[in-house]
Symmetry: C2
Subunit: 344 residues, 2 copies
């Protein structure tokens, strides 16, 4: 009876083990109060039948899908990819599955659509790994009946956020250069509409100001090596006395390194370069790149910890900031004609 491909149900297992469906359920949910002998019998029936619990039926009655939805704007970048990796891992360890959606652009409607797509799959929480872009339709956000956390991003208006302290990182990089005696320090930023970009720049300005040094040329890039290449040339053009450049990510820093080499500038003898991210290539740049490392893995784990907490009852979804770390390599060195005395 039944077609050969029909999946076995709890009833089948129950019959075979000579128990009721409820006992099978108890074994599966490892509830107490099942005699070891009975449990054994049920387990045997399960494996003999190749039974697998129907997740839809379970989700229907428990009202829990066991799914965490992740929305990411760009997965080919090292940062988001690392973060998503650790989210996937942490989610699984916490007993959840993870669904993933990509943003085709960073406009509000696109984010809204992705949220909607996840919601229609009954995810229990949503993690948004999108560092920039427009805020989605506030109405969608308000009607959200699942916890949402934005990573490294912004959603304004009370949405909880977890992220690396970008501002501190920017300040850290700049301070490093100041400590090496540099006074003419340029900055290549990321796209203007990225909060990360803004925060790193804020850190740069903050450190400069604290040191009582006038900010150097600041030019805008787009995270690509190409823009770093062009940007470094612009910085040098705007202020030929520049001895150091803080570049807002490593990819642009790689482009900058190349441009400097082409322009006949030695790094770090003539110009020091500090990047941001510590991508794997950074240590193999020519010369190896001094940079700010972000702990994406920790960030992902933290995100899962927070949303799982929110799913399982905590009412508060706090915002967290993970500190970055300076990784000093060969692309930064003492300023050429460093002033004898430190100002300030």
């Amino acid at each position: 009876m039944g077609s050969p491909t029909a999946a076995p149900t709890m009833a089948h297992v129950a019959r075979r083990a000579g128990v009721s469906h409820q006992t099978v359920s108890r074994v599966l949910n490892d509830a107490d109060a099942v005699r070891p002998e009975t449990r054994e019998r049920v387990l045997r029936a399960i494996s003999e039948l190749g039974y697998r619990r129907n997740s839809a039926a379970r989700a229907l009655v428990t009202r829990r899908s066991g799914l965490i939805g992740v929305i990411v704007d760009e997965l080919r970048l090292y940062g988001p990819a690392s973060t998503v990796s650790s989210i996937a891992q942490a989610a699984r360890e916490a007993g959840y599955g993870m669904t993933l959606d990509l943003l085709w652009d960073v406009t509000g409607p696109s984010v809204s659509a992705a949220l909607e797509h996840h919601l229609s799959q009954s995810v229990e929480a949503i993690v948004l790994v999108a560092a920039h872009g427009e805020t989605p339709d506030p109405a969608v956000l308000r009607d959200l009946d699942v916890p949402l956390i934005a990573l490294d991003g912004f959603l304004g208006a009370g949405t909880p956020t977890a992220g690396v302290d970008q501002r501190a990182g920017g300040a850290m990089a700049t301070r490093h250069l100041l400590d090496l005696g540099h006074r003419r320090i340029g900055h290549i930023t990321g796209p203007e509409d990225w909060p990360q970009s803004q925060a790193r720049q804020a850190g740069y300005r903050e450190a400069m100001e604290q040191a009582g040094v006038r900010p150097g040329p600041v030019v805008t890039g787009d995270w690509s090596p190409r823009s770093g290449h062009a940007g470094s040339l612009q910085v040098l053009d705007q202020d030929p006395s520049t001895t150091a450049i803080f570049v807002a990510n490593d990819q642009m820093a790689m482009g900058a390194l190349r441009a400097l080499a082409e322009a006949g500038k030695r790094v770090p003898e003539d110009v020091s370069v500090v990047g941001f991210d510590d991508i794997p290539e950074a240590s193999f740049a020519q010369p190896p790149l001094t940079t700010i490392r972000q702990d994406f893995a920790a960030l992902g784990r933290e995100a899962v910890r927070l949303v799982v907490g929110a799913i399982e009852g905590a009412d508060e979804l706090p915002s967290t900031l993970v500190p970055p770390r300076l990784v000093a390599r060969a692309s930064s060195g003492r300023a050429p004609h460093a002033p004898r005395g430190r100002r300030r």
Copy 2:
């Protein structure tokens, strides 16, 4: 009545619209035979109530989860990240959701566990984006009642595979160097247990043999810039007359470029370098890297096309090979003392 947070059901919508639940269902599944006026009424009720269809209930009765499971071994690498991106996109366009699992290692049990995890979420198909590693438990594979496709990987024994033609790519790179007059051509491979690594090397040997040239030094790397750095030094050490190196991926090629610069070798004047992958950094290497581009986006789309076909009835899940493409940049040039005549 009912707590304020209780999600509205079809019955609620039906009552509000003054129709039966079935009519609501028809509107949602855009079936025919609903008067435009009625549909309008239902749609209005839906939006007023903020109704959202319960996917679990739907999945329970239709026996379809609308989920495609993806298993990936490493997401921080450009290739897999691109592939997964395009899978996510294509899946959504095809009306599916995508769940993602990461492999914590590449042993059989790990793959089996990931398969099991996806199966327990009732995915309708599985795409494995793992280029290497052990085959999972054959029993698990055999009992699989959903279509499975391995991307760029191997699972031996009849599992359908889609991938870029790695062998052709290896041959393409090598032939490019041969055409430039090089005769002493070394090769840095990926890890030995990666089929991609093997295929690229096979392409290298094939091209060399066809040209009647004796293969140069072949050393093994691990895909990292570090190993490319060390590998290129080994190649030069084993045969100082080497004038070209085919490196099995771009990251290693970047390391090689750096090592060559440190060793006082000019690229491409003294030594030509060809990589594989065409990662974004490749065009900003010093000098810009000649490489083999793989169309990961096409691969991901193809994978979704195939599994969706399999889900929706096609019995055959064919294997496909996507051709790669040579991207010639500045890291490869004519051989230094190229022999006057071509051999063969």
